[in-house]
Amino acid sequence: MAQQGNWTELLSTLDSSDLETVERVRELLQSSLSNERGPGLLNCLLDYYIASQSKEALKMLSAVREPHDKHLLERLNDCFGRPAARLPSLLLLWHLMHKQPSWIHKLPRAPVFPSFLKLLKTDTDVVVLTTGVLVLSTLLPMIPQSIKNCLYDIFDIFSRLASWGIKNPAGQVPDVCLVHLHAGVYTLFHRLYGMYPCNFLSYLRAHYGMRENCALFQEVVLPMLERVRVHPELVTGTKEYEMDASKWKRYETQDVVIECAKVSLDPKEASTEESYSSTHEMFGTNCLPCFTPDTSVHTGHARGSSPLASHGHVPLSLSLCVNQDAISGQMTTEGVEVTWSPSLECGLTTPPPSCGMSPSQLHSGAQHSTPRPESETISPGPPHMDDFSKDPLLEESKLHKLIEDTDANFFNVHSRDGSFTSSATENCDERIPGKNENSEDALVDSPGTVSLRELPQVIDGLDQQTSAAEQEQEDAAINMEISEINQRVHDEISTRGGFDSPFCPSERTWPVPATQVPSASDLHRRPDTQRATNTSATCNKPSTFLPIDNPSFAVNGMDGHSEESTTLPAARTSMVLSSSQLSTPSSSTCDANVSTALSSLGTFPYEILFASALPWTAASFIDKKTAESQVLWESGLEQCNHTSDISPSPLDVLDVLIQRGGDVHAKELKWLPLPCQAADWTHFGGEAPAEEMQVMRARLKLLHAQLLYERHKREQHALRNRRLLRRVIKATALQEYNTAMKDQLNSQEEELRGLKMSLVEEQARVRRVLLDHEHAVAFYQDQLRTLQADRDSLSASNRELQSMLDETYRETQRLNTELQKTNNTVFNTTNDLRHLQDKLKLGQEARDQAEMLNRQLLMLGELNEFCRAELDTAQPCLTKESVMCLDARFQELEQLRRVSRQQLEAATRRISELDSGLAAKELLIEQQKDLLETAKIQAREQLKSVESKYQAQKRVVQALERHLLDLYSKLDNRKEQVQAVAARVSRDEPFLNQGAIGGTQVRNLPDVTTRQGIMDYDGV
């Protein structure tokens, strides 16, 4: 506790005037905050902040880190319970969110969040509520997926606060503050519609479907709905998908903000980016009409002292005329060059089938709408040209004029803004550069789209454009000029009167025949422009002209609308919705058609769709609508009449309010037209000026809240812009890279071409070489063929010769064998013959002997005969003696016979002996012959082996000789090579050559001999 006391003391010094002390204390506190774990110091700090609303404490609290967040949120929860502490707590919460701490996602789960919602549901303090609503609007994009549980609480809050718009619950809340609240609710509406369209619409359907809420819907919600386009997710998304965390994961906070801005049609909310570019370019240019009412009001204010000050509407109508010019000019430029598709607009790939729109239809629609503005532009041309011819910028071709017409209008606005800025708040100051940028964009975009390369230059141009001094100069010059123009136009109008005004020609060009009776019922059947003209005409009539707060005019205008709204509220809503489903709100013509359709109930349903499908008409419609509603609301505001059906944007209302406040605080009361001032006073509740201070304080707080909100938005946009710029730079770098690559590609192509050329050359060369080669091959093949034929014939003859040789050889062998056989037989026969001759000789001898012996035997026989005869004869005489002699002789003969027998025996024995000898001899001869035969065979065998050896040796010698010859030829080659080298080296030395020749001669000798030798062998 003591420490707590310490802290309190310390904290009290935090806001001291001594800067050093403050610095020291802050450091001390911060270090202890980072060291301490408990909630003590934090609580002290919070208490101190709530008690003193110290800026330093707020800074420190909003920089709280992670571990303390729980205590802080708990403490804040407590603070929400105390009515006095609510506002500071809310502011603290807001600052915390501004810092976007890492623990922000814990917020919806913390108890402080339900109590915060409860606070918004129950509280009655308008300041707290407005701040709370803005806090909620800021918080929603940061934690899109974690608040799904309390989404319906938020819807309830929305409906509750929206209901404040018509029934002031407390009754004592000043309307001024209600305007702030309404603006806050409007912001919340945008967030809710942008983020959770399905859920939100279903809630709206459920809630405002009830009869008791019907009026509230008409009064408050419907105007808001009119300022948004159809959210694409109404078509593509579902309730569940909206709540899905995966969807929100892709978005950062600023993305969510931009997404919300994209669906908005309110120029103060709408985004000018990306897929809506074609429309947004127009929005950019068309921002000017949105401001024209303001400026016109201001010029009106500024001219409060002039004689025309009471005719506040004259410049208004003039501004409308300028508007139309701007629109028409823009339409001509845009209509020619921009091809627009509804699918682009919706982000759908196919247009909704219920519309029955095809691109051709669309095109015809576009063509249909384009000439009209041209005629409009040209017909009121002369006075305008005259007007603008003074402008040094507008003296070129016609198209340029048209373009610069818008541009000039821009500068008009600009100048008006400039004049406005001089006396206006910071809020408007912030818008000027943006607008300037828009105008610049429009300027650049009108001839075409900006390429990436040009973008940096464009940005540079922008930078130059936004240089303050130049701008001021320009502003001053143009301001003067504009005031002059205004003056002149006004003069013209005032002199020429209502239907002589520049609108009349344009009116005549309309295809719809229009009576010029300015009755209320007619007004609905006519185009808006006409109505505007009519109103302006009515206003311009000197007799019927009334000051701003003239109730009759207001009633006249209002009555029409209220009538319309009361008669067909549902139809109107549906029409608005259907037109917004096409993502382009109805244009001026469309409005006319709508009203026509409303009166004649859908005679031209398709035309409505065509017209509403066109973005520029839609854009112009917005402008017109805004301008018109501005006019109407302006008057309505003057009369404290908030029941207008077509109410202006709450933001516009707020703007005007702030301007008024600024005017008041700038002590320019004397310049203000009295009725306005009076209306102001009555408007602020008609209370005593004593309470004015309190109201003012509340307003100041509200303004602060608004400012904080706008600052937050600006930061989100800055973040996004930074990201986009980074992308642009990246894209530029890529472009550069691309061109570099292209150059490289070109050079490579050059190279490739060169290579191709050389390739062709090489191919030709190769073809030539191949051709030569083929010729050579063909030649050699021919040669080969002839040689082969030669060889074949030679081999054939060789074979023949060989066979002949074989035959002769075989013949010779046969003859040899025959010879041998005959020789054999001859030899044998001679041998036999010799034997036989021997035998024959022996036989002859024996025969001779036998013959001789036979002859002796024969002689002896004869002798014996003779002797016997003699004996016979001599017997008688030689009886004894003869007998004796005979006996003797007989004996002698016997003896002789014995001898001869012995001799014969011996002879035969001898013959047999000789015969056996002959046989033995023959056997011997046979044996000798056999022996000889075997010896011969053996010798032949041996001879054969020797022969084979000899043949083998011959072959061996041949092989060796061949080898030798081979070696010789090699040697020759080598020597010739050497010789050639030597000859090349020393051609002038003759003896070397001689020696070489001698060498070759010597070498040739053995060659010859060996060849001869081979031939010899072959012959053998």
Binding site: S948, A952, V956, A959, L960, R962, H963
Partner: protein, 259 residues
């Protein structure tokens, strides 16, 4: 007479026990004692009985004509053969056709080439021809069969020469006759081979050209070669038939294994 009786008795006994070679060896020895050797008888003998390893080379040489039929001049002829071999070897060495490392079949091939005058002109370019491959296959078988390089060379040389001179003409007819014999004797196998489509793809011609050297394992070839020299001297058809018989039995074994 008594001797005959004893021999018959023993031969019966041997046949019962299974030693059939004993009698044959003796009869072969008787045959080899004759002067001059009766080649016809030897052929008949070798056709009928396996030759014992002791006399195989001798019989081969005689049958192939390396040695004459008169044994008295064997020495002189052998000397001539040796000298011829040495001359060829020397020439081959001299021509650098072979080295120490060259396998015997290749040496034989080179020597054969030199002797026949078939040495290619360009020694560098050597294309293996079919007949050379055949020679190599036969020579490798012979080198395993014979004891010395000398015998191996002479055996393979004379074998190839004799084969080429006598049976070269009948080689193309052998596949057909094989089919014929197969159809006669082993119809099932033939059908099976035809169904398989293996008949056409069997490398008959190579088998026949090489006399199964290199196609059959040496051990089984050896047992076949025991009888074969005789066949070489006979009619080619008989030779082919016997080869086919042999092959038939072999292939039967193979196919039966496969089936």
């Amino acid at each position: 007479m008594a001797e005959d009786c004893v021999r018959n008795f023993r031969s019966h006994y041997y046949e019962k026990v299974g030693f059939r070679g004993v009698e044959e060896k003796r009869s072969l020895e008787l045959l080899l004692k004759e002067e001059p050797l009766d080649l016809e008888k030897l052929c008949m003998f070798t056709q009928r009985f396996p030759i014992p390893a002791l006399y195989r080379v001798m019989v081969w040489k005689v049958l192939l004509g390396i040695l004459p039929s008169y044994q008295s001049c064997h020495g002189a002829v052998a000397q001539q053969r040796t000298e011829q071999y040495k001359d060829l070897k020397h020439a081959v060495d001299l021509l650098h056709l072979v080295s120490i490392k060259t396998p015997i079949p290749t040496v034989c091939l080179h020597m054969y080439r030199v002797e026949m005058g078939l040495t290619p002109l360009d020694l560098e370019i050597e294309e293996p021809k079919d007949d050379e491959d055949d020679f190599l296959a036969i020579a490798s078988t012979m080198s395993e069969l014979a004891e010395s390089e000398l015998d191996a060379y002479w055996l393979s040389r004379c074998f190839v020469l004799q084969f080429n001179s006598k049976h070269a003409d009948s080689l193309p007819h052998l596949p057909k006759s094989l089919e014929h014999y197969l159809a006669l004797e082993e119809l099932r196998l033939l059908q099976h081979l035809k169904v398989c489509g293996a008949l056409v793809r069997l490398p008959y011609s190579r088998w026949f050209r090489r006399c199964f050297a290199g196609s059959l394992p040496n051990s089984s070839l050896e047992s076949f070669l025991k009888r074969m020299p005789t066949l070489l001297l006979e009619e080619p058809l008989t030779f082919g038939r016997s080869i086919q018989d042999w092959q038939l039995s072999l292939s039967r074994n193979h196919t039966l294994k496969q089936v």
